[in-house]
């Protein structure tokens, strides 16, 4: 059995495919590919395919991780070509590799969120208010968990790594806790800010830009 990790992008029309739908859809892609995919054993055998992290509906990404096993060796270049010939617009395998980290090593994820102010002249105000917001002692938001809704202070968890003011939009890059146990959606922060900001804005493109291990190393 050969373990394979692929890094793929999800963009354009494909960003409207929900995680659940992607799971079902990818089975068909593999079925069609003819790749010697390894099936789980047991009562109801199915191809073993795992996505490291779910991506919210509407988000784009160029760092999604999909793992699967093959029963016999196929060159990475060939796997990439076979899958990309099948995948529809918006889904593309960027590279294929042997897993270095375990999925449970994932600790953080990076996002970039485009904020579009209704009136671009208010960009400066947006930025000043954002600075002030970041200086608050705590930022409490409601977060859905398996046990129901609970109040979480996201201030210590949110790292705003950089802010770019591009006249017709402002891009916020941030790093948030991620992993099998603890996942934070960048919209928690954005919505909290939007609730107190005097500037009206909408979000444009939202992307996941990186998946990292707990120690900050890029997940591979």
């Amino acid at each position: 059995m050969i373990k394979v990790r692929t890094v793929f992008e999800k963009k354009g029309r494909a960003k409207y495919i929900s995680h659940l739908d992607l799971n079902r859809f990818i089975m068909r892609v593999f079925k069609r590919s003819g790749l010697p995919i390894w099936y789980t054993e047991g009562f109801n055998p199915h191809p073993y395919i795992v996505f490291a992290m779910a991506l919210s509906l509407g988000f784009e990404s160029d760092c999604e991780i999909m793992d699967f096993n093959l029963t016999e060796g196929v060159s990475f270049g060939k796997i990439k070509k076979i899958l990309n010939d099948i995948l529809p617009e918006g889904l593309k395998i960027l590279y294929v590799t042997t897993p270095e980290h375990k999925i449970k090593d994932i600790g953080k994820a990076e996002y970039s969120v485009e904020c579009i102010t209704e009136n671009p002249e208010e960009n400066e105000i947006f930025l000043t208010e954002l600075q002030k917001f970041l200086e608050l002692p705590e930022i409490n938001v409601e977060k859905k968990t398996k046990k129901g809704i609970k109040l979480v202070d996201i201030k210590p968890l949110t790292e705003l790594t950089n802010i770019i003011n591009k006249s017709d939009n402002i891009v916020l890059n941030m790093r948030l806790p991620a992993g099998t146990q603890n996942n934070f959606n960048p919209m928690l922060f954005i919505d909290a800010f939007s609730a107190v900001s005097s500037v009206r804005f909408e979000t444009g493109k939202i992307s996941r830009t990186g998946i990292l291990c707990a120690d900050g190393e890029v997940f591979k």
Partner: protein, 613 residues
């Protein structure tokens, strides 16, 4: 740009991937590089429309012509329709996200009567005038209808430029070819329509004039000069060789039938007297076992589906059923594909095949006796005997099954209380059978579900003359059935009979109903086939407003010599045959199936050859 506008709102609606296209297998052509475009509209939501086989066939077929382009269009759900209307997003196609009104053809497939209001709603969303006479003399867009409902399309006559009778594989392309010529010539709409009537199967309703008697029945249907008086349907004569797609569009989101499907035969040899499809698609034609096998294989390989179904009215009637199934089961098993089989007549299967079939059959046990007594089953010519039902149930119970589903109709011609009570008695005998079998599944009780639908008399059947039971009659029979059931092991359910009334009106209606459909739609009716959307009161008010009575269409007995609203449409089976069959039904006499003995239904006058060698 339209795409940006759409994307702006997509995350606010349920299942957005239904509105953006780009699925695996979809065919996206450059509009500038094609000569004729066809927007294939299904008048229901994506989830339902994407399951429809006819659309898949014609989509791939049209796109197989390099210079033609076919794109898919579905009715948006309520949440998205609201957004579309508020933000001036016109109805658009899924491939190029192009407004439907820019297409050369806007084609609807009419599968059921209760989708008529959706057609008006979609035309309106597209920004195309719903009334045919209000469209300009510009050549495009030509609004076309096809599908089984077109056999009596009169209630829709005022909305369509063209209706296509019968099977579309050849005539659609012929129509597009002709259109292309007129497009190059710069013809007007009327010039093109005038020429189109020369293609067999093409019906242009606006070239026909209908007059009525004082009692409301049709007095005459006359065609304009130079237009054929009768329109004959189209059929594919070499069905084994007819185009079949080797790939489907594979949706991201779940749809009703999400699987590969191969059409194994068209038409039906049975001649059940209530069944419109059984007559509309005559004569019976089948694909060879090899074609079925290779088409199934190609489809599974190209789509990656892990489920395969066989499409037909009655798969058991395939002449090579044993080998055909046996080969398919071998292939699907080897490739980890589920083969979903319909209820099969298993009388002539070998032991070996039976074993194979048993292994793949996972679906429940269902029967459609349609009527509760042998007498009434003879009236409707439904060739199922109680022995057959009992035998199959016995085998199934011994094999571990413990639930059975039975389908019946209520309000059939000649029906008496005895027939209704007979439904409950049949179910009771199945319950008793279960407990008489020593090998029955232990620890579980038996469950027999009875599902009844109100009988809807349809055009082009021997029962086209028959009145439908009124609501009061049906309600009394439903109560009688409930009272006749003596155990909790039998469950009874039924369809809403108001829906059946409307279905009966639209199925056998005439042109005057266009106004009613329009009024109902204007007052908010759409998705009438969805229980939660069905507004019976609004429909009844629409009838009143237009001065028409639903009972006139649904509950009136029609004489054999009455001119039917569809009298000028020919589906090959003659009216004489329907009259003969109707008379036989009244005498409780059955008619043999086509393979046993030809009953001279009239089909050969058009096909000019015997249906079976």
């Amino acid at each position: 740009m339209l795409r940006e506008k759409i994307e702006k709102y997509l995350l606010d609606v349920q299942k957005p991937s239904r509105y953006i296209g780009g699925e695996m297998g979809s065919i996206i052509k450059n509009p500038d590089e094609t000569d004729v475009s066809f927007a294939f509209c299904f008048p229901d939501t994506y989830d339902i429309g994407m399951s429809h086989l006819g659309m898949k066939i014609l989509y791939s077929l049209t796109n197989s012509r390099e210079n033609y382009r076919c794109e898919r269009v579905f009715a948006p759900s309520e949440d998205f329709e609201k957004i579309m209307r508020e933000n001036d997003i016109p109805l658009y196609s899924l491939e190029n996200l192009q407004p439907v009104r820019e297409f050369d053809f806007i084609g609807f497939t009419m599968q059921y009567e209760l989708s008529y209001t959706n057609v008006l709603n979609m035309l309106d969303l597209a920004g195309v005038p719903v009334w045919q006479k209000e469209r300009s003399e510009n050549l495009s867009p030509i609004v076309v209808a096809g599908g089984p409902c077109v056999c009596n399309a009169e209630p829709l006559a005022d909305f369509f430029d063209i209706m296509i009778l019968g099977e579309g594989e050849e005539v659609n392309l012929e129509l597009m070819d002709l259109y292309y010529k007129h497009k190059q010539k710069g013809s007007s709409r009327t010039e093109f329509l005038r020429d189109a009537v020369n293609i067999q199967g093409v019906y242009v309703p606006s070239f026909y004039n209908v007059e009525y008697n004082i009692d409301g029945t049709v007095r005459s249907i006359t065609s304009d000069e130079g237009v054929p008086a009768v329109i004959h349907k189209r059929i594919i004569s070499d069905f084994d060789k007819v185009y079949y797609p080797d790939n489907f569009v594979v949706p991201f989101t779940e749809i009703v039938h999400d699987r590969a499907s191969v059409e194994v035969l068209r038409g039906c040899i049975r001649g059940c007297r209530f069944c419109q499809a059984g007559f509309l698609y005559r004569p019976f034609r089948e694909k060879s076992g090899e074609s079925i096998y290779s088409q199934a294989k190609a489809l599974c390989e190209n789509t990656g589906y892990d489920e395969l179904s066989l499409a037909s009215l009655s798969t058991s009637d395939h002449s090579d059923i044993s080998d055909m199934l046996s080969n398919l089961i071998d292939y699907t098993e080897k490739n980890k594909i589920n083969l979903s089989l319909p209820s099969l007549r298993i009388d002539n299967f070998s032991e070996e095949l039976l074993e194979k079939v048993k292994k793949v059959r996972k679906s429940g046990l269902t029967f459609a006796p349609e009527a509760g007594t042998q007498r009434l089953r003879d009236v409707i010519n439904k060739n199922v005997t109680e022995d057959e039902i009992m035998n199959t149930c016995r085998i199934a119970f011994e094999g571990g099954y413990s639930s059975v589903k039975l389908y019946f109709m209520m309000g059939l011609p000649t029906e008496t209380d005895e027939d209704i009570v007979g439904i409950a008695e049949l179910a009771q005998r199945i319950v008793d059978l279960f407990y008489s079998i020593p090998e029955r599944p232990k620890g579980r009780g038996v469950q027999v579900s009875i599902s009844t639908a109100t009988f809807v008399p349809k055009p082009f059947t021997p029962f086209e003359f028959e009145p439908q039971d009124t609501r009061e009659m049906i309600e009394r029979k439903q109560k009688l059935l409930i009272d006749s059931v003596k155990t909790k092991k039998i469950k009874v359910s039924w369809h809403n009979s108001d829906v059946s009334l409307l279905e009966a009106v639209l199925a056998r209606g005439d042109r005057r109903l266009s106004k009613v459909i329009y009024t109902a739609w204007k007052n908010g009716c759409k998705f009438d086939s969805w229980g939660e959307h069905f507004k019976f009161d609004v429909w009844m008010n629409a009838f009143k407003e237009c001065g028409l009575e639903p009972e006139f269409y649904a509950c009136r007995k029609r004489e054999y010599n009455e001119i039917m609203p569809w009298e000028h449409l020919d589906y090959y089976v003659s009216k004489d045959f329907f009259i003969r069959e109707n008379m036989k039904a009244r005498e409780f006499k059955t008619t043999p199936n086509c393979r046993e003995k030809c009953s001279g239904c009239g089909v050969t006058a058009m096909t000019r050859r015997a249906c079976f060698d």
